[in-house]
Symmetry: C2
Subunit: 445 residues, 2 copies
C-alpha cells in the first residue's frame, strides 16, 4: 500500500476497507515510514484503525517525534493496550527517548510487574547487552520430558518473542539450552537433560552490545542468553536485534571515520542545523591544526621565493601521504570492529605495515621520478629528492595510520576517530617538515 492510497481512502472515509487492507497488506515497519509523511491528525487516525498487535509494533518503529505526538493524542486505555502488547526491549527503547512527563504517563498505564522489569532494564548502561536484551524467553527444567516441554511452549509461547531456543535453568542459573528442532525431533519420553546442549555461549548484562552482536554473527546464533553478575539468567539478545545493533554501530563507525559526529537519525531525518552541528567540530579542529603546516611552510618562505616550483609538489606529497595513512588506519579500524585485530597485535601490525610501505614507496618513487623527468618538472636530482620524501612520507603515514587506532582502542577511545581526517592532518605536518628539510639540504636553500 502506498501513501497516496492510504490518503485517498482516508479522504473517502473508507475506514473499514482501510482497516482491512492495513491488516493484510502492510508491514508495521513500512507503515511507520509512511506515517512519517502524515500530519498528526491523519497519523493518529490511521493508527487507531490498527489491531493492537500491529499498533504496538508500528509504534516501536516510529521516530521519537511521532511517538510523542501519538502519546499526547491517545487515551490512557489506548496507551495501556499498546504497552501491554509491546515487547519489553522495545518499551525500554521508547522510554529512553521520551521526556520525563511522558515516561511517567506511560509507566502509570503499565501493570506493576512489567513496570518493575522496565525499571530494571532502564538501569543498564546505554549500548550494553542489558539495554538491548529481552526478558521474555522459554525456561525449562532439566527433569521435564520432551512432551512436558512442548506443552509448556504451547501454553506460554504466544507471549514470548522467540521460542526457537529454550533455556534450561536451575535456581535461575543457566545450565543448558535446547533448540526447538531438537525438541521436535526427539522422542517424547526423553528428558530435557538428555537432549540439552550444556556447552553454550552466553554474555553478561554489562558486555558491549557490539561484542554480543559479533558473537551472534560469528556462531550463527538465533539468540544469546544473558546472565547477570551473579550468573543468573536474566534475558536473551535475539538475532534481529543483533543485526540492528551491527547496522547502527557500522553507520556510527563510518560517520566517525569521515569526521562526522554520529547521530541516531537518518540523513533526511536530520535537520540542516543538526548536520552542521555534527560536521563543524572536526572541520574546525582540522582547519586550525593545519596552522602548523602553514607555519612550517612560512618558515621556508625564502626557499619558496627562490624555487617557487617546490610548492607544486606539496599537494601531491600530502595527498599520497594522506591516502597511504587512511588505507592503513581504515583496515586496522575495521579489523578491530570485527574482532580480528587486537591491541596485542600492535607490533605484528607495525612490522607488516613497514614491509608494505617499503614496497609501495619504491613503486611510487620510481613512477613519480619518471613522470618528473618526462614532464620536464625537474632534473634527476629533483626526481631523487621527491622520491626520498615520498618514501619517508609513505613509511610515516603507514606506521602512524596503523598505530593510532590501536592506541585509541587501548586507552578506551573509539578507534574510528583515528581515521582519514585526523591521520591526513598529522601526515600533512610530517610530510611538509620532511619535504622542506630534505629540499633545503639538497638544494642548499
Amino acid at each position: 500500500m502506498t501513501e497516496e492510497r492510504i490518503k485517498d481512502m482516508l479522504d473517502a472515509r473508507e475506514y473499514k476497507e482501510l482497516k482491512e487492507e492495513l491488516e493484510t497488506n502492510m508491514y508495521p515497519v513500512d507503515l511507520a515510514e509512511i506515517l512519517e509523511e502524515f500530519d498528526q491528525k491523519h497519523m493518529v487516525l490511521v493508527f487507531r484503525l490498527l489491531a493492537k498487535e500491529e499498533a504496538a509494533e508500528t509504534f516501536s518503529y516510529m521516530n521519537s517525534d511521532m511517538r510523542e505526538d501519538l502519546i499526547n493524542a491517545l487515551t490512557d486505555s489506548e496507551l495501556e493496550e499498546i504497552m501491554e502488547e509491546m515487547y519489553l526491549d522495545d518499551t525500554v527503547d521508547v522510554l529512553e527517548e521520551m521526556p520525563a512527563n511522558v515516561v511517567d504517563r506511560l509507566l502509570m498505564v503499565t501493570d506493576a510487574e512489567k513496570r518493575q522489569q522496565i525499571n530494571q532494564l532502564l538501569q543498564y548502561p546505554e549500548d550494553s547487552a542489558g539495554s538491548v536484551m529481552n526478558v521474555d524467553y522459554i525456561a525449562l527444567r532439566r527433569e521435564m520430558t520432551v512432551a512436558d516441554s512442548i506443552l509448556k511452549i504451547r501454553q506460554v509461547g504466544l507471549n514470548r518473542e522467540t521460542i526457537y531456543t529454550c533455556y534450561v535453568t536451575e535456581q535461575r542459573h543457566l545450565i543448558g539450552q535446547v533448540d526447538i528442532k531438537e525438541l521436535l525431533t526427539s522422542s517424547e519420553s526423553k528428558t530435557v537433560e538428555e537432549i540439552m546442549d550444556t556447552n553454550m555461549l552466553y554474555a553478561r548484562t554489562t558486555d558491549d552490545q557490539e561484542d554480543v552482536a559479533n558473537i551472534i554473527t560469528k556462531y550463527g546464533l538465533i539468540a544469546l542468553p544473558i546472565v547477570d553478575h551473579e550468573n543468573c539468567m536474566v534475558g536473551i539478545v535475539t538475532v534481529d536485534d543483533a543485526m540492528q545493533v551491527l547496522q547502527d554501530e557500522t553507520t556510527e563507525d563510518i560517520s566517525i571515520m569521515a569526521g562526522v559526529n554520529p547521530n541516531e537519525d537518518s540523513y533526511f531525518g536530520t535537520s540542516i542545523f543538526e548536520h552542521v552541528k555534527s560536521r563543524i567540530p572536526w572541520l574546525l579542529f582540522l582547519m586550525l591544526s593545519a596552522t602548523v603546516t602553514q607555519m612550517i611552510m612560512n618558515s621556508y618562505e625564502n626557499a619558496l621565493a627562490l624555487m617557487p616550483q617546490l610548492a607544486g609538489f606539496v599537494p601531491m606529497l600530502t595527498g599520497t601521504g594522506g591516502n597511504c595513512g587512511s588505507q592503513s588506519s581504515t583496515l586496522v579500524i575495521r579489523g578491530l570492529a570485527v574482532g580480528e585485530i587486537e591491541f596485542s597485535d600492535l607490533f605484528k601490525v607495525i612490522w607488516k605495515e613497514i614491509r608494505i610501505a617499503f614496497c609501495i614507496s619504491i613503486i611510487l618513487s620510481v613512477v613519480n621520478g619518471i613522470r618528473i623527468m618526462l614532464m620536464g618538472q625537474g632534473d634527476a636530482m629533483m626526481a631523487f629528492t621527491i622520491g626520498l620524501t615520498m618514501a619517508c612520507t609513505v613509511l610515516i603515514a603507514k606506521v602512524v595510520g596503523c598505530t593510532l587506532p590501536l592506541i585509541a582502542k587501548k586507552i578506551g577511545l573509539d578507534p574510528a576517530i583515528m581515521a582519514t581526517p585526523l591521520i591526513s592532518t598529522l601526515v600533512d605536518i610530517s610530510t611538509i617538515s620532511v619535504y622542506f628539510a630534505i629540499v633545503s639540504y639538497v638544494f642548499h636553500l
Copy 2:
C-alpha cells in the same frame, strides 16, 4: 580449548581424550581458526578425530588453502562423508573457490541428486541471492492439519538447516508461510491454510545478496524465501547467512572507501605482496592525478615568487575541502548501502548539502579570518580572500561529494569508489584553481 592444549595432547598421543574434548568443548568456527596455525600433518590428524557433523562444519569455516590441503590428504570415503554432512550452500561456497581438478574429485564422491542441486546453484551469479540460498527447507501443503505438519517436521526436520519457518507451496509456487510458533500454539485439528500468513516477503534468485540481507534486517526475519523466474520456490536465505553477507559487504565497502581493492581474506591472512597489490592501484592513480594540481600551481610560479606566503595556505584549503567532501560522500554512500537514499533523491540531497555548505563556510571563513589576523599571517584583505576561497571550496566539495556516489550507483558502479581518496583529489584540483584565480585577481599578480 587453546591451541597449546591441543598441541600438547597431540604430542602426548592422547587421541581419545582429545577427541572427547573437541566434541564437548569446541565450536567448529573456533577450531577452524586454531587449525590455521597448525602444519598440514597435524591439521589432518586433528580433523580425522572429529565426528562427521563437526568435521563438515569445521571444514566449511576453513580458508581455501586449508581446504585444499585437507582434500588432498583425505580418502574418497572420508570426503564422501563430509560432502554428505555439509549443507548445500556451504558446499557451493567450497566448490566455487577450488581448482577444477579438486572440484571434479569432490563432485565424484557426491551422490547424483545432490550433484544436480550443486550444479544448479553454481550457475547463479556471484553475490546473487541464488548463490547464498539453501535449498533445504520445510514445505507444507495448505490442506495439511497442524498435527500433520508437526509430524512432517519430526520426520524430515533433522536434515533441514532451519525449521523455524515452514513454507506452504502449491505446484511449487509459494502461497504462504507458517512460523513454528504458530504451529505449536494452534489447535492440532486446524489446517495449515487457516493459520498460514499469506502476506509474506520473498526475493528472486538473481537479486543482489546485499538487498536480501537488508530485507532480512529491516523486517527482522529468520529466513527469506527465494523464488525463480517462474515464481517457483527454490530455497531460503537464512538470517545467519544474511549477517555474514552484511559483514562482508560492509568490510568490502569500507576497504573501497579507503582506496584499497577488497579481497576476501583477513588482514593477517593476506600476504605483503597481496596487500601491496590491493593498495597500489589507487595510490598510483591518485598520485598521477595530482599532476594536474601541480601544473596549475606551476602556472602561477611568478605569483608564488612574489608572494611565497600564498603557498602556506594550500594544505589548509585542500585539507578542509577534502574533509568537507568526504563527510558528504561518506554519508551518502552509507545511506545508499542501507537503502535510505536512492538516485531519485539526487536533487533533494544536493539542495540539502548546499544549505549545509552555506552555514559551514560562514563559520569556517570567519574563524579562519580571525586566526589569520591574530597570527599576523595577513591583513583584512588576505583574510577576505582566503575566506572567499574557503566558501567556494566548501560548496564545491559538498556538492561533488554528495553527487558522485549517486551517479556511480546510477551507472552501475560501486558508490564506495567515490569516497575520500578520489573526492579529495578532485577537490584539490578545484580548490587550487579557485584559490589562485581569486588571489591573482585580488592582488593583481
